[in-house]
């Protein structure tokens, strides 16, 4: 578990929503999925994951249920609600706009001013 970059504040919720949108996951699975889809580039503190999951459930973006894992362990699985799906879309759009704006700003050269 040696992820490189630290998360920007506020992005953890977005990443969790994204990870879960690809299929129901348990907490540990969320961790692995984020590592996988970020190309092992993002560092997630395990302690921060569960409070975030609880928060998203409270906000009605995720719902949770107990199930058996692949290797026959009992685990709590999270999946997106309709509201969570909508929120993911909005946040993704927002993030893309922001990233593009910042990228444009950073690419600015003296002669363009």
């Amino acid at each position: 578990m040696d992820y490189e970059a630290e998360l920007l504040p506020g992005t953890l919720d977005l990443l969790i929503l994204k990870a879960v949108s690809l299929g129901p996951l348990h907490g540990y699975g969320v961790l692995l999925r984020i590592g996988q889809i970020s190309g092992r580039a993002l560092l997630i503190q395990q302690g921060a994951l569960y409070p975030a999951l609880f928060r998203l459930v409270r906000q009605g973006l995720l719902k949770a249920s107990w199930d058996k894992s692949d290797n026959n362990r009992r685990a709590k699985y999270y999946e997106l609600t309709a509201k969570g799906r909508r929120r993911l879309r909005e946040e993704t759009d927002g993030w893309n706009r922001l990233a593009k704006a910042i990228a444009t700003a950073l690419a600015a050269r003296p002669q363009e001013i």
């Binding site: 907490g27 302690g47 409070p51 894992s69 685990a75 709590k76």
Partner: protein, 901 residues
């Protein structure tokens, strides 16, 4: 959806608390197991894999705590925890808790008490629907300095048809004789237009009121009675409707009973407690068939504006109407009299000067509450420094700043709520006693109660005070220097410089505010004292006054007291009989106008327009003077001083030339440079004969305690006659037996006359001071409370200072300082606090005291004597409060003081 999710989370939290806990536990354990599975797959042994997984996961307890924080409703848990902890802390220091709770109970209890009065009177003065539409109509003749002169019937009709008002009703408060029952009784009567009840928007509890559109001449033969009269005189007879009774020998049929909680919008307790309502169209017998425009015989009127019309808008339309009428009837309204009709919110007319008194009390009690809060803040700051070690330890163990602040605020709010509850409890217990202090003149006195609005107010005040006195100590946690606080071995008090400074500021504020209150109380006391000692000009002691009243039948032909001569026979016979009652030395008769301080304004005795012989005065321009109609014995009985001329004698009969006695003020007003005796005046426009002035008596405060210079004219009862009568008795009277004895004598002369309102004149005079006395007592009480609290504040700061400086004082003593010097040093400190506070307080008092100018008598708002005395008292108290801790400082044993570090 969000709400649903939140609620289900909340439910999960509270209903399935243990399940939630178990699931959290299991979820984290499954995470570790899953991770260990992966690590095992990478080749680690199971035990090693599990250990590694646990280490990677980090602090399980903290994660759980954070998860719990994310659960809905977690704050409730924290609140309960905080409350539980607060209760434990408060129980650990019962002395401190008791002082704070009692201080707050005092502040909140007193504020709530005053608010309950304000709520019943100022905030809800008129318990009628759409009360904002109700106005009183006041006619002024500004050109001749006459105000509230009443209106005439044609003017009332003009107003009614002006389109400005929904209803206009003259109101004529009167006493009446209830006859035809076993014992003749006096009832308070209101004569009004038939639509009076529709105007107020009230309904009877039984029967009906008057048909609103009735405009037939004279009085209706129907009457509406009060619930009180129904129960008292008619025994609550369920068949009361259609019963008949006689008032002034006229027969009335009862058509309705008003509910017990209905009160008229009058200006005095009597006017608010009407027992019989009779309606009239204000023309036709016994009044004139064609009332004149200039005959202002309707004392006053109330009206309801058309919906949507504001008072200023209505006023400008009334002004236009008045201008038009003045043009149309120029003969009746000479331009120089400046006839004006003023619309006054009915609320104002009912409240009168009560508003000012209550506002003053509200400010005073607000200051007391403020001082109480400051005092408690001071105590909390002092305790804060004792508790800084506890706070430091809790911080060091990981409690967040926000959490500690919240904890302290919870504690302070709890204190304040306990104080509020105690205050309310005390108020409930003392309610009956406190209501006795309230003067009877207060409108809606019976409505004063601890309503839910008052409860809400008390709760609000508790929360506001709790936050305001608790915020400073709570925030001081944020500035806590952990290392420093923890290093303080055992000794609690650290007393940072900043804290000491804020405590001093608080004490100075407190002292300044208490000085403001003391000065207000001092000024009121000074006024009261001056009024009490103002020479009255008459002697009210050992005098009893008893009222009676002759009937005004609607048919003048059946009136057996129509002339002064007919009345005179009655007066002489009653006086002859009274003279023989045990203890009576002197007796006299007068009309109601001669009863000192005892008659209402706008009543049967409006000031008279007077014409002076040889002076050009148009009929309406006549100056107004107060008339008292008395028998000759009145002057000696009242111990009034004759300055010049003579008083009435037996020769001044109704056959003789009319004569009058005037007071010095009247002589000076109308004949400043000549002798008034021998001058002739006419006391009404219709009078045919001139009245000769035969004597001048010294001024007496019979019209108003405050104003000795009211022009007065006294006329002879045997010449003028009167029907609202007062019997005066002087002597060694048995106050319990005399009223019945007098009733017996009067009714043996005429069994139909009521005898009522027996009162010692000294009580009447004293009652005239009721409202002032009330204000004085309350403000005085508050001022003393404030002074006590401020003294406690100074005591607290100095005690704290002495504790803090024990070590320093020990060194000083060891080095040979005189104990006297130590004492002086600390006293000087106390004096400094007091003087600074006093300086601030004096400035505030100077800025504020002119607001109470109209509540004062004979004292300027900046009265140097009051200011001086108050200043000296408060500084002496401050020195006393400083002396106790200062003396303790001088008893410090240098050896012990030095060792204790």
């Amino acid at each position: 959806m969000t709400l649903l999710a939140y609620l289900s989370s909340l439910a999960a939290h509270f209903l399935h608390r243990s399940q939630t806990e178990n699931e959290l536990e299991e979820e984290l354990r499954s995470h570790i197991r899953l991770r260990a599975d992966d690590l095992e797959r990478l080749g680690l042994a199971r035990s090693e894999a599990e250990q590694r997984a646990r280490i990677e996961f980090g602090g399980e307890v903290q994660v759980k705590e954070k998860c719990r924080d994310e659960l809905a409703g977690n704050f409730i848990d924290i609140l309960i925890q905080d409350l539980r902890f607060s209760v434990r802390m408060l129980r650990k220091t019962p002395g401190f808790t008791a002082i704070v709770v009692l201080t707050m109970a005092l502040g909140i209890g007193a504020t709530t008490a005053i608010f309950s009065v304000v709520d019943a009177t100022l905030l809800h003065p008129l318990p009628y629907p759409h009360a904002e539409q109700l106005v009183r109509i006041v006619d002024d003749l500004a050109g001749i300095g006459a105000h509230d002169v009443g209106m005439s019937e044609p003017e009332w009709q003009d107003l009614q048809h002006s389109g400005i008002f929904q209803y206009v009703s003259p109101t004529w408060y009167d006493d009446n004789n209830l006859t035809g029952l076993s014992k003749p009784g006096r009832v308070s009567l209101l004569i009004e237009a038939p639509d009076y009840f529709a105007l107020l928007g009230v309904k009877p509890e039984l029967g009906r009121t008057f048909p609103p559109l009735d405009h037939s001449p004279g009085f209706t033969t129907e009457a509406v009675i009060s619930d009180g009269l129904w129960k008292r005189t008619f025994g609550g007879d369920p068949a009361i409707l259609r019963k008949q009774f006689r008032m002034d020998t006229d027969l009335y049929r009862i058509v309705g009973v008003m509910p017990a909680d209905f009160h008229d919008p009058g200006t005095s307790p009597r006017e608010r407690n009407i027992e019989v309502w009779a309606a009239t169209s204000f023309y036709g017998p016994p009044m004139s068939d064609h009332p004149a425009r200039s005959g202002r015989n309707l004392p006053t009127a109330i009206a309801r504006l058309k919906p949507g019309l504001t008072i200023p808008a209505a006023q400008s339309r009334v002004d236009a109407l008045v201008a038009a009428l003045q043009k149309q009837y120029a003969g009746d309204y000479p331009a120089h009299m400046k006839w004006k009709i003023r619309l006054m919110p009915l609320k104002e007319s009912v409240l009168g000067d009560v508003r000012q008194t209550l506002t003053m009390l509200l400010i005073a009690v607000g200051l007391v509450l403020f001082i109480a809060c400051v005092n408690v803040a001071n105590l909390l700051l002092a305790r804060g420094s004792v508790r800084s070690r506890e706070m430091a330890i809790r911080r060091a163990l990981g409690a967040g700043q926000a959490r500690l602040t919240r904890q302290l605020l919870t504690e302070n709010l709890l204190l304040s709520l306990l104080g509020g509850a105690t205050g309310l409890g005390a108020l409930f217990l003392a309610k009956d006693f406190l209501l006795k202090l309230v003067p009877e003149t207060l409108p809606r006195l019976n409505e004063i109660s601890i309503s839910w609005i008052v409860l809400l107010f008390a709760l609000g005040m508790s929360v506001i005070s709790g936050v305001s006195f608790g915020i400073a100590p709570a925030l001081s946690v944020r500035r806590l220097d952990l290392i420093h606080a923890l290093k303080q071995e055992g000794r609690g008090s650290t007393g940072s410089r900043e804290q000491t400074r804020s405590r001093r500021t608080l004490v100075i504020t407190e002292f300044a505010m208490s000085l403001v209150l003391l000065i207000a109380a001092g000024l009121l006391l000074h006024s009261f004292w001056d009024l009490l000692n103002a020479p009255l000009g008459f002697n009210p002691h050992s005098v009893m006054t008893i009222k009676t009243r002759m009937p005004y039948p609607n048919d003048p032909k059946v009136d057996k007291y129509a002339t002064a001569a007919q009345q005179g026979r009655f007066f002489r016979e009653v006086l002859r009989r009274c003279q023989q009652l045990p203890g009576v030395n002197e007796s006299a008769f007068s009309d109601l106008g001669a009863l000192p301080l005892g008659h209402d304004r706008n009543n049967q005795n409006p000031p008279l327009p007077m014409m002076i012989e040889g002076r050009q005065t148009q009929s309406n321009e006549a100056p107004l003077v107060d008339e008292s109609i008395v028998t000759p014995e009145y002057f000696h009985l009242m111990e009034m001083t004759l300055r010049r001329g003579r008083i009435f004698n037996e020769l001044d009969t109704d056959q003789a030339e009319p004569v009058a006695v005037i007071n010095e003020s009247m002589a000076q007003t109308f004949w400043p440079n000549e002798d008034a005796i021998g001058k002739h005046v006419k006391l009404s426009r219709r009078a045919t004969k001139w009245t000769t002035i035969i004597g001048v008596v010294a001024n007496a405060r019979t019209e108003s305690l405050e104003n000795v210079k009211v022009p007065q004219i006294y006329t002879d009862l045997y010449q003028r006659g009167a029907k609202h009568l007062v019997i005066f008795l002087r002597g060694d009277l048995n106050a319990a037996a005399i009223p019945d004895a007098v009733r017996e004598q009067v009714q043996s002369v005429d069994p139909t006359l009521p005898v009522f309102s027996a009162e010692m004149l000294s009580n009447t005079v004293s009652a005239a001071l009721d409202q002032r006395r009330f204000a004085l007592e309350i403000v005085g009480l508050f001022a003393l409370t404030a002074l006590l609290l401020a003294a406690i504040g100074i005591y607290g700061v100095l005690s704290f200072l002495v504790n803090e400086r024990t070590h320093e004082i020990g060194i000083r003593l060891a080095l040979g300082a005189q104990r006297r010097a130590i004492l002086q040093m600390l006293l000087r400190h106390g004096l400094w606090l007091a003087l600074t506070g006093a300086a601030v307080g004096l400035v505030c008092a100077l800025a504020l005291s002119h607001f109470m100018a109209s509540a004062l008598y004979g004292v300027r708002p900046t009265d140097p004597m009051t200011f001086g005395v108050v200043l000296v008292i408060s500084i002496v108290v401050a020195l006393l409060a400083s002396y106790l801790p200062a003396r303790r400082a001088t008893r410090v044993d240098p050896m012990i003081a030095l060792r204790c570090d």
